[in-house]
Symmetry: C2
Subunit: 259 residues, 2 copies
């Protein structure tokens, strides 16, 4: 099966989800065709029984490969890079491969929780604040992890303050300074030299959100890198829009729940 273009790929995602965007960019760079299934997070399709049968964590994305459900965007993208080796999206050198994984883990562990604060405040709080206590408890009961239940309860009853959102955006700004430092030391236009890697793709969704919330603050090398990334054909193939447009699209174009 390895590397075969006959492999059947079905991708469950949300248009506005940063983790989903990481995988859409990877699929596009690999030139892979797949059946896309966009979920409506505002209708909680990711907490539905049919979706949790695919991903018990109840989060997007999930890639079905010949029936095998792969979760966690960093791991899905590494799988894609190994199963479909051309074009390579990892460096060849083991130390550089380590650095890409370390960067991807940093983005996941640090930038993802940060971006959730402005995102959830803009897209989920307007929905959650209208719930009655009974409705909230019913919604929470469908969420399979304590961490996510806590986040939803927090969001519904005690939304993030402006100061908390500012602190989260500071974390994303720090990420852009790290990107600038990588580019200063890079031998090419990308974070790790002349080859575009998963490191570039994995940062991109978080730079989108930073630029939308604090426009015009990217450093010179990062601004050039950012223009080059968005000029790639993969950017349109992956259908990366603004957070606002993609959130609206999420609600408008979601799949129907399976019977």
């Amino acid at each position: 099966m390895t590397g075969s273009r006959q492999t059947s790929l079905t991708f469950y995602h949300a248009w506005s989800s940063s983790a989903s965007r990481k995988v859409r960019l990877c699929l596009a760079e690999k030139g892979l065709t797949y059946v896309g299934k966009a979920l409506d997070l505002g209708r909680f399709q990711h907490h539905s029984a049919w979706y949790k049968a695919l991903n018990p964590s109840g989060i997007v994305p999930c890639l079905l490969v010949d029936g095998l459900a792969l979760v966690e965007s960093n791991l899905i993208d590494e799988y894609l890079d190994e199963a479909f080796p051309e074009p390579a999206l990892m460096p060849d050198d083991p130390a550089a491969r380590y650095e890409v994984r370390r960067w991807s883990k940093y983005v996941d562990d640090v930038c993802l929780p940060a971006v959730q604060k402005p995102n959830w405040t803009r897209s989920m709080y307007p929905i959650a604040k209208l719930w009655s206590d009974a409705e909230l408890e019913q919604r929470l009961a469908a969420i399979p992890t304590q961490e996510r239940r806590d986040l939803w309860r927090r969001m519904a009853r005690n939304p993030f303050s402006e100061a908390e959102i500012d602190a989260a955006l500071d974390i994303l700004e720090d990420m852009t300074l790290r990107i600038e430092a990588y580019l200063e030391n890079s031998s090419g236009p990308w974070l790790f030299g002349h080859r575009l890697t998963l490191a570039d793709l994995h940062a991109a969704p978080y730079v989108i959100r930073f630029e939308e919330e604090r426009p015009g603050r990217l450093r010179p090398l990062t601004a050039r890198w950012w223009d080059a990334l968005r000029a790639r054909p993969s950017w349109s193939t992956a259908e990366i829009g603004s957070y606002e447009d993609d959130s609206a699209r999420t609600a408008a174009e979601a799949i129907k729940d399976p019977a």
Copy 2:
């Protein structure tokens, strides 16, 4: 440099640390020689300025490869597997490689926070409870991450209850049931078939602690797997002892702080 046995390896670790044990097992399976530097966690050498210059997170382990500091045990072991390919400790098939990474991430995200509760209660609370408030604040100031500062403050002033430790051991017991399920579906004696992989090595330190805290409860296939793992030459090369012995050794055999 890749794969060269001339590479210089210096390993900063603690004898009793689960993450350190994962890397010691991997180094032993690869037959690599290295300079070991054991830190005394009870004297907080991992929070010292000289160590944080190597690993800004102030946690063990850290592997210096020709001067490059690698952190995060899962990523260190994947680096070792790629830089020193023989014997291979990852499957060949991309889907199986994904499964090993997913398992390692689960161990890191779920089992590591669980094992900290009994471990810290046994080894750190007896130290931390004696601190004055001023001494506590001084210790906390040296800890570089909020998450770890919170853990230390909790430990010093509000130790985990027996119920919390029990819940943590339930998580480790669930891990052993997952191991049993993998073995039921495996084509060989290891989690992923006939080849020992990082999946086996990454689970081992957590099985040690589970067996010590709740002895004699491993399921049949897991018990056989566990015997086979401990019978390997790597087990003694990596100097894996009991938690109690390794904690005593940590205090007795630590390096001196560099001048």
